[in-house]
């Protein structure tokens, strides 16, 4: 998933319409919450068989494909392609809300009621652990999916404890967008590879008449999932990690400190403008497109939009992309994207697996890339002359994905990311020192990842 939605979820827990009446409010609120809660958790009794029994992928027939809102409108065409070839195994698209958190909620609700309404799930890369650990997904046979052709970093996001639960269908990674026109005028020929180079490039551009009012650098630090991503990238670039390979938090390392201090100092020195804490992904895009920004960490989707000649972007044709910089050399990007999984409670799992193979196959991924510019997971598509011509950033993106680090893998990911968001935000806004924030985060993540 790449666009962390701009706005906090407008999710009222299903209570709103009931609550316009007077004294009933109290009981009803409780009632409505309680109702949804008991409905969610009502019948977990016989869940133990989920994991083992699900291993058999049998049954053919109609299935559903559950995904977030399809902005491109292209998905239906792909599904139509499948449906004409498989008249007895029709696929119906179920579109969930645009907001990732809402999608997750609905999928969880479907799973906790053990409903077979959802067959193939389009999961954000960070949900795999939670869904797999709760036995909501069917383990997939590794030999039935052509994983070898996919970028290894994307394949790991579909795994939990060595088993495959989801097949990567789209990927995503952060890149450094930079104004090549301004750098050229300042006499800088290549994009910066290190933070120090980036800052000195900023200073050079600031001295130009065109550089007036142009801010130096932007990465998202508003208190949402975005700040977790910025922290993973900053700490990863310094050689550290938030949660180590053994699943334990590793924030007491000098690398973690160096990474976080990059964000803290960038904000303190004004390299990262102070309104950055209010800007979301789309806000960042507007900012870059307004021409007031020299360097920006952003997802690939901005490339086409910022290059569009319809007047919405003042920087069309004036920018290029590169690897994110790091303290001593190229930095590390964070991995986004989506994986396809089969619900543990679905019927017709054999059809579901075939459909996943269809959507993640070379033909579908190429068509999807050309139509929607969503980054593929197949390595070969990045080196393809046709796609490379249409999307000049693909070589950079491939390298970014290859080196990318995932966000912490945790069953309680929601709690983990909330803790990261809180502490990193406090450090960036100067409410806490970097040391204090890291110590607090280390303490908070301990119990959350202990299981």
């Amino acid at each position: 998933m790449r666009r962390i939605p701009p706005i906090g979820a407008p999710v009222s827990p299903g209570t709103r319409p009931l609550l316009t009446r007077p004294l009933v409010t109290g009981p009803l609120l409780c009632a409505a919450l309680a109702l949804s809660l008991s409905a969610c958790g009502g019948d977990d009794g016989g869940a133990s068989k989920g994991g083992a029994a699900a291993a058999s992928l049998t049954g053919r027939g109609p299935i559903t494909f559950v995904t977030g809102k399809d902005r491109s409108g292209y998905l239906q065409k792909q599904v139509d392609g499948w449906n004409t070839d498989h008249p007895k195994e029709q696929v119906r698209i179920i579109e969930l809300p645009d907001e990732p958190n809402d999608q997750r909620q609905q999928m969880i609700q479907n799973a906790t009621t053990r409903s077979d309404a959802y067959s193939v799930l389009n999961l954000d890369v960070v949900w795999t652990a939670e869904f797999a650990a709760n036995r909501w997904l069917t383990p997939l046979p590794k030999d039935k999916v052509d994983l070898a052709k996919m970028l290894p970093a994307t394949v790991t996001t579909g795994q939990y404890r060595g088993n495959l639960y989801a097949v990567p269908s789209t990927s995503d990674a952060g890149m450094l967008y930079y104004r090549k026109d301004l750098l050229g005028k300042a006499g800088v020929s290549a994009p910066p590879k290190t933070y120090a180079e980036m800052w000195s490039d900023c200073d050079k551009v600031k001295k130009l008449p065109e550089g007036k009012g142009v801010d130096c650098f932007f990465t998202e630090v508003n208190k949402t999932e975005s700040i977790t991503i910025s922290a993973v990238e900053a700490i990863g670039s310094a050689g550290g990690s938030i949660v180590g390979a053994d699943g334990k938090p590793t924030l007491n390392t000098p690398q973690a400190k160096q990474g976080l201090e990059f964000l803290v100092n960038a904000k303190k020195d004004g390299r990262l403008p102070k309104e950055a804490v209010t800007l979301d992904t789309e806000g960042g895009r507007r900012y870059f497109q307004s021409g007031k920004l020299l360097f920006q960490r952003q997802w690939p989707y901005q490339y086409a939009l910022a290059n569009s000649g319809d007047g919405s972007s003042k920087v069309a044709g004036k920018f290029a992309v590169a690897q994110l910089p790091g303290p001593n050399g190229p930095g590390v990007a964070n991995l986004g994207g989506h994986n396809l999984a089969v619900s543990a409670f679905a019927k017709n799992k054999a059809t579901s697996l075939d459909f996943i193979r269809y959507l993640t196959g070379e033909q579908s991924q190429r068509a999807n890339l050309l139509a929607t510019s969503q980054a593929p997971t197949l390595a070969s598509l990045y080196d393809d002359p046709e796609t490379a011509k249409k999307f000049p950033y693909l070589p950079v993106l491939k390298q970014a994905i290859t080196n990318a680090k995932p966000r912490p893998v945790a069953v309680k990911y929601g709690d983990v990311t909330a803790a990261i968001q809180g502490e990193v935000y406090d450090a960036v806004t100067g409410k806490k020192t970097a040391d204090q924030a890291l110590a607090d985060l280390q303490g908070a993540l301990g119990p959350l990842t202990a299981q």
Partner: protein, 347 residues
């Protein structure tokens, strides 16, 4: 609850009215039985839609589920009775801080927004009540904010409050409204007051229109000025409607969720309310803990409502109580209480 009071007395009335005052014990008992029978569908529905969920929610709050992973990394299934652990956990350590922060926010929003809304709402009602040209237009336009869905108005205000938005352009000063901090609280208060003042205005207007003209005429004859008229006539006579409006608003704000969630975002210390914590717990699969938060919020709301009714005498229950009293003292003035009741309900 209102439904109960709506339901009970009229049914009792009709049952009693059906039988002229014949003080025969058997009949009274038969009447009671009939009343109970006639009421049973209502009670059944209430038990199903209110009683059961409240109890189920409370039961849920005594259990924990999904704790720990087994050797293969799967979440251990099943639920475990934990007694009041979910409740005590709320008040300890970091979660305690988060709870009191949210409790403070909820209370802060309640006090500030309700006070401001009352002031603005009453002035709106006074304006809307005047007879002047274009009154219909003013009335309609004052109601526009109330008609906009909260999530949409949250988005609109988010737009206004963004760093390069209209609010900062008007103030000629850059305030980062939507960043976590005290200014975020202000942003929520402003948006909430904008949205819900019309509600108080509308209810107070209804109250104002019930005041008979001749009272004012009499006051004028007695030489009362406009200010005196307001304090001595308008305010006391509109008080019942006003108190009901304020009570509604208080109960509404105490469970505020959507506006801060859309305008500022979830997990923001400065605007996190109790419902938002309950939501966060539930969305991270801790249903027991979420139910515990919801129960605490329920008790808090019930307490506030009780105190409000007790201290200020908002007579939502009062009139009903008086009626039952009248019945007990066997002063058979059946028609009037019923009428009074109807008026209450429509108001």
């Amino acid at each position: 609850m209102t439904t109960t009071y709506d339901g009970t007395p009229p049914a009792a009335d009709t049952a009693a009215a059906g039988r002229p005052p014949r003080p025969r014990k058997r009949d009274v008992q038969g009447t009671k039985r009939l009343a109970a029978l006639l009421l049973s569908p209502t009670l059944l529905v209430l038990a199903l839609v209110i009683g059961y969920p409240v109890l189920a929610g409370f039961r849920e709050s005594l259990y924990a589920r999904g704790e720990g992973l087994d050797a293969d990394g799967f979440v251990v299934q099943g639920e475990r009775f934990v007694g009041l652990d979910n409740y005590t956990a709320i008040f300890h350590g970091d979660r305690g801080d988060a709870f009191w922060n949210a409790f403070g926010n909820t209370t802060f929003f309640t006090v500030t927004t309700v006070v401001l809304e009352t002031l603005i709402g009453v002035s709106m009602a006074l304006i809307m009540q005047r007879a002047f040209r274009g009154r219909a237009l003013v009335r309609a336009s004052i109601l526009v904010p109330w008609a906009i869905p909260t999530a949409i108005s949250g988005l609109l205000w988010r737009w206004i409050f963004q760093a390069d938005g209209a609010a900062n352009a008007v103030l000629r000063h850059q305030i980062l409204w939507t960043a976590d901090g005290f200014q975020a609280k202000l942003a929520v208060v402003i948006a909430e007051v904008w949205k819900t003042s019309p509600f108080i205005g509308l209810l107070v207007l209804a109250g104002l229109q019930m005041i008979p003209r001749d009272v004012y005429e009499a006051a004028r004859v007695d030489g009362a000025g406009p200010l005196q008229q307001f304090w001595r006539i308008t305010l006391p006579l509109v008080k019942p409607a006003l108190l009901v409006a304020v009570l509604f608003r208080m109960l509404d704000v105490l469970r505020m969720f959507d506006l801060p969630a859309v305008l500022i975002g979830v997990n923001q210390k400065s605007v996190e309310t109790l419902t938002m914590i309950a939501w966060f717990e539930a969305s991270n699969l801790r249903y027991g803990s979420a139910a515990a938060y919801a129960t605490i919020l329920f008790l808090y709301i019930a307490l506030i409502a009780y105190l409000f009714v007790k201290l200020l005498g908002a007579d939502i229950i009062g009139e009903a109580r008086q009626q039952t009293k009248r019945h007990h003292t066997k002063r058979h003035r059946r028609n009037r209480p019923v009428k009074g009741k109807r008026k209450k309900v429509t108001a």
